[in-house]
């Protein structure tokens, strides 16, 4: 199986500039086109282990990230995202090309992948069991997720939890983990062997960097997991790591609020969330020290054994 790394830089650029790079992430194939050297380089770093497919197959999504034309290129150049000929979002400064690519990839899945219940949540796995971490931005979900995957938990996804509608298992979608502001240096210290992009400043979310998904998580991207816990994390300065159970009906409502396509799926969505709320233990989780947080997850796993 061909990986992005095996293409080599020249072939990578040729595909990106030409017919498109067909990149497999979890269950999806995305045809990526872009003339931007910055994006090519970052893809090479962050997606080295990912499968690439030959031309002539079916892609789920077609995305293009291009630069500005004419004079705009010289003065505050921008990056534009096109979804197969349509441009649904405003352009961003060129330096934000990789974050834009990541957000665009997320948007493709969250707005269309209706054969799953798609939850805005991180999801990690150990011993075949998955912990789902939904959270609005700013709750520290990505930091916690990034820490856990550097302490023995497998990354299934950083942003998009794909719950299968037939059996309720989670399909992995391992992709770079996004980190903001203070979390970047925290994770650098916590996981010195992990690979990070150079931080990009002045985005709407502040300074943003991405941490590469481990080769193992990419290699095991076809290995599903059964949800066992839903944990709503909240980083709180000085807080001891504490789990507070969430009643089942409330867990249902909160999951529904955090799912992109819950309403769209109608009764199927209701049943998928109800099944999930029933089969897992749901908690609110406060913490401040990462090691303490990890210990709590390990304890949950032990209780389950």
């Amino acid at each position: 199986m061909l990986t992005l790394a095996s293409l080599g830089p020249r072939e990578l650029r040729a595909r990106l500039r030409g017919p498109g790079l067909r990149l497999q992430t979890g269950p999806f194939v995305t045809c990526v086109q872009s003339p931007l050297a910055l994006l090519a380089d970052t893809l090479a770093a962050m997606y080295a282990d990912y499968p690439v497919l030959e031309e002539g197959g079916v892609a789920d999504f077609h995305v293009r990230l291009s630069g500005s034309n004419g004079l705009r290129r010289l003065v505050r150049p921008q990056v534009h995202f096109h979804y197969d000929g349509m441009a649904p979002f405003q352009p961003l400064p060129l330096a934000q090309a990789f974050p834009m690519f990541e957000w665009a990839m997320n948007w493709c899945v969250s707005s269309q992948a209706n054969s799953w219940l798609v939850i805005h949540a991180a999801v990690i796995e150990k011993s075949g069991l998955a912990a789902i971490l939904p959270a609005p931005p700013g709750s520290g979900k990505s930091t916690l997720c990034a820490a856990l995957v550097n302490r023995g938990w497998r990354l299934l996804s950083d942003e998009l939890t794909l719950v299968r509608l037939d059996d309720g298992r989670v399909d992995p979608l391992p992709r770079p983990v996004s980190l903001k502001n203070a979390s970047i240096s925290i994770l650098r210290d916590y996981a010195p062997e992990a690979a990070f992009t150079r931080p990009v400043a002045d985005t709407v979310k502040g300074t943003v960097a991405h941490m590469r998904a481990s080769s193992e998580s990419v290699a095991r991207a076809q290995e599903t997991a059964m949800p066992a816990w839903i944990v709503f994390p909240k980083w709180q300065a000085g807080a001891p790591a504490t789990l507070t159970p969430v009643p089942q009906a409330r867990a249902h409502m909160r999951l529904a609020e955090n799912a992109f396509n819950y309403s769209l799926l109608g009764e199927t969505g209701f049943q998928a969330v109800a099944r999930l709320a029933e089969q897992v233990r749901t908690f609110d989780f406060e913490y401040s020290v990462l090691d303490d947080a990890i210990a709590v997850f390990e304890q949950l796993l032990r209780e389950r054994a």
């Binding site: 197959g57 892609a59 979002f89 969250s110 054969s115």
Partner: protein, 365 residues
């Protein structure tokens, strides 16, 4: 005579002959999916494939992708159903028959033209004299007027054939109240009273009607060939095709169609409709009907111009198709608004995207 493109775009081939989809290669499917999505026909394509018995034979990734679009459509139907109930309730006091137009009519009557079809507004037809009553009742039940500036108000009330669209304050759904099918300012004046008189009840839906078959076809033709919006050109042409195929089986339909067109002053749109349906989609129209419809044709030079315009405009609005639309027109291809309580195709309700990626403003209606 203007020639058709040598090789019809894949989407047209699929629409003309759904069974042929089984033979398309993966490479062709990759392109076809994109054309279908750009034309808002992905859900329809999946249903056509199923009807032709070939859905299971398609590549797995294709079947899955078409399924995503189908889910959207199924949810859409539920929303339409509920919306209709609420409209019935609101207007019960008027004693008026609830005459549905366009997408709402196809969906509620379960017509083939409704399969996979999405639409953003519900359109109804009421007598002009009752417009004010209808408007106040709708407002009483939570619909609010839109387009508040003086010019827009005048545009709709004085010049157009409809009230400004009304949007429900809680559900965000939109209803368009028409009193005619063409603006006051148009050259042709199809008499709305005749349309209303011929309206047909929808079985199983007390008090709800569609236009008569000929009138539904003519309205669809008028809508496509007069209103100047071609974003959904191929989709609208396919509506016509399906309506013609379905009602063509009813005795008397073909005989009545050209005559009714003349009666309603819509011979020209009918001529265009039949011409482009037969040429692009291979609609089986009896020769006698085509002959009769030619009476409404423009003279040769104008016809050639129209051919050039429409044959281009009615292609899939996708970069892969020759003479594709400009960017602005393509960008308009999505379902407007949040009226299904879900994000529109291009927007995600959630903070993830709104916080970082700013959606472009919707183009003007």
């Amino acid at each position: 005579m203007t020639a058709l493109p040598v090789q019809l775009p894949l989407l047209l081939r699929a629409l003309r002959e759904p069974a042929a989809m089984a033979a398309f290669s993966e490479r062709e499917w990759d392109l076809l999916l994109r054309q279908a999505l750009a034309s808002n026909l992905a859900a329809t394509l999946g249903l056509l494939a199923e009807e032709a018995g070939v859905l299971a034979a398609l590549p797995a990734r294709v079947g899955r992708r078409l399924g995503w679009a189908r889910t959207v459509w199924e949810r859409h139907l539920q929303a339409v159903d509920f919306e209709l109930r609420q409209i019935k309730r609101a207007l019960a006091g008027t004693g008026l028959p609830l005459i549905l137009l366009k997408g709402g009519a196809y969906a509620t009557a379960g017509l083939p033209a409704g399969a996979g079809r999405l639409f953003s507004d519900i359109d109804i037809l009421v007598p002009k004299e009752q417009l004010a009553d209808v408007e106040s009742l709708l407002m009483l039940h939570g619909w609010a007027g839109t387009h508040h500036d003086a010019y827009d108000q005048r545009y709709y009330r004085e010049w157009m054939h409809e009230l400004p669209p009304m949007q429900h304050m809680r559900r965000a759904s939109v209803i368009d109240v028409h009193h005619a099918i063409l603006p006051e300012t148009a050259a042709a004046r199809p008499d709305p009273a005749r349309l209303r008189a011929a309206a047909r009840p929808i079985p199983g839906q007390e008090g709800v009607y569609t236009l008569a078959p000929c009138d539904m076809v003519l309205h669809s033709a008028v809508h496509l060939f007069s209103e100047g919006e071609y974003h959904h050109g191929l989709r609208d042409l396919f509506d016509l095709h399906r309506l013609l195929c379905h009602f063509g089986a009813e005795p008397g339909f073909w005989a009545a169609l050209p005559a009714r067109a003349r009666e309603l002053e819509l011979a020209r749109p009918l001529c265009y409709a039949l011409r482009y349906c037969t040429r692009l989609l291979g609609t089986p129209v009896p020769a006698a009907v085509l002959d009769a419809a030619r009476a409404g044709a423009p003279h040769a030079a104008l016809q050639a111009l129209m051919d050039a315009l429409f044959l281009r405009a009615l292609q899939p609005p996708h970069p892969s198709c020759a003479d594709a639309f400009d960017g602005a027109a393509r960008a308009a291809l999505y379902i407007r608004g949040n009226w299904l309580r879900m994000p529109p195709l291009m927007l995600s309700r959630h903070l993830l995207h709104k916080a970082f990626l700013s959606p472009k403003a919707e183009p003007a209606r």
